[in-house]
């Protein structure tokens, strides 16, 4: 590096922001150049003077942050609702994309496989819902209670399943299907939507016993 190039870099040598190579080049030059040593001293005085002025100057008002927060609130309130609705969706998509790209191939494959399984199960449930399973000799109900399709966990014991059925006052009237789905009838009528929802919540919260619970009638 030439003397003139060194001189031009000295302000940033003094403010200590040069990279390692530049700094060592300058230090080697300073060992031999008296003019540059004097320049560094002068620049150090200048830096101290500028910092003195800056540090002793009055700072901003203490309530400035509150004013900024008020501006932000006003901005958020004024934002069009559509924009508010759209932003979290975009963020979820972006997070999803980031996760997918960052995940190892085996994780992505496992995820894809699970997704296919869930879709297959969903398709079967929908099919069974629209084509009820009927046999002439099958159990029938003398009630008009709502019908659930439920899949139990493989590890759930018979006793746990029985207790769960008692809790919802339901009985198995069909199944298991090829996908391990049982048809369960409860006392609550299909039009008692709140009660049906409560029973489904009981089943869905009991994840130790129940894998899936849907109302099919």
């Amino acid at each position: 590096m030439k003397h003139q190039e060194i001189i031009e870099l000295l302000p940033w040598y003094v403010n200590a922001t040069l990279d390692e190579d530049e700094r060592s080049t300058i230090e080697a030059h300073l060992a031999e150049c008296r003019e540059c040593v004097l320049e560094v001293e002068s620049l150090s005085t200048m830096q101290a003077a500028v910092r003195k002025v800056g540090n002793e100057a009055p700072g901003p008002s203490p309530n400035l942050l509150n004013r900024a927060l008020e501006q932000i609130d006003a901005y958020e309130r004024a934002k069009p609702q559509e924009e508010n609705k759209g932003r979290p969706g975009n963020r979820v998509a972006s997070l999803w994309q980031g996760w997918w790209q960052a995940s190892p191939a085996f994780v992505r494959s496992a995820f894809a496989f699970q997704l296919v399984l869930i879709l297959a199960l969903g398709t079967t449930v929908v099919y069974q819902w629209s084509h009820p399973y009927v046999t002439l000799s099958g159990p029938s109900s003398d009630q008009n209670g709502a019908i659930f399709s439920v899949s139990f966990n493989e590890n759930a014991s018979e006793r746990e399943i029985r207790e769960t059925l008692l809790e919802i006052q339901g009985k198995i009237i069909g199944g298991p299907s090829a996908n391990n789905l049982y048809t369960i009838q409860v006392k609550a009528l299909p039009e008692q939507t709140e009660e049906i929802e409560r029973l489904l919540q009981i089943l869905r919260k009991n994840q130790r016993v129940v894998r899936l619970a849907l109302q099919t009638k």
């Binding site: 002068s42 003077a49 400035l64 932000i72 932003r87």
Partner: protein, 190 residues
């Protein structure tokens, strides 16, 4: 370049601001408000306006955090926004005003040599020496010595080539050295 002392916390604050995190916004605000305010004060020479612009910068950060992709350092991004806002403000026609501080500095410098020994007077003399520089020269001096930025960052903020930054600094320091010498300011008087 500055030594790497771990990831800049401002990066994660900006990321969280993009998610609407007000706590992260307050952290970033507290970390930068004084630096931005002083930089803007020097740019527009008006403390009230500098406060207003400081908030404008931070609100712009709130609005634009999702668009910050980390290609530049957070400080470069923030000072770039601040500079843009200050230049826009300076382009608007405004009535001539004299800052109280500047006015008192002028008065102090005209009261005689006894004032020079005074602590405030030293500061006012330095202030005046800085004010005698052209806006571009003052800005490069301010960003280098007060804000402690690299010449690459300054070039990015000022949107000019690196060589222009170096040339501006070369001329600015000559004028400032001369002005400080004239006012009898040496290392030991600071």
């Amino acid at each position: 370049m500055e030594e790497d002392t771990g990831p800049d916390p401002a990066l994660s604050w900006i990321e969280r601001i993009a998610e609407g995190d007000r706590g992260a916004f307050e952290n970033l605000y507290n970390a930068y408000q004084t630096r931005l305010f002083r930089y803007l004060s020097r740019m527009v020479n008006d403390a009230n306006l500098a406060e207003e612009l400081t908030n404008d910068v931070m609100v712009a950060v709130w609005k634009g955090a999702a668009g910050f992709k980390g290609q530049s350092k957070p400080s470069t991004w923030l000072f770039g926004i601040a500079r843009h806002k200050a230049l826009n403000e300076l382009r608007r026609p405004r009535p001539m005003t004299v800052e109280v501080e500047t006015a008192s500095a002028v008065a102090a410098s005209e009261t005689g040599p006894e004032g020079i020994a005074d602590r405030n007077s030293v500061r006012q003399n330095i202030q005046r020496a800085l004010e005698d520089l052209s806006p571009e020269h003052r800005e490069v001096v301010e960003l280098t010595f007060f804000q402690g930025l690299t010449y690459q960052e300054i070039a990015e903020i000022m949107q000019c080539p690196i060589n222009t930054v170096k040339t501006r600094m070369f001329h600015a320091k000559k004028r400032l050295q001369e002005a400080l010498r004239k006012r009898g300011i040496a290392g030991e008087t600071l």
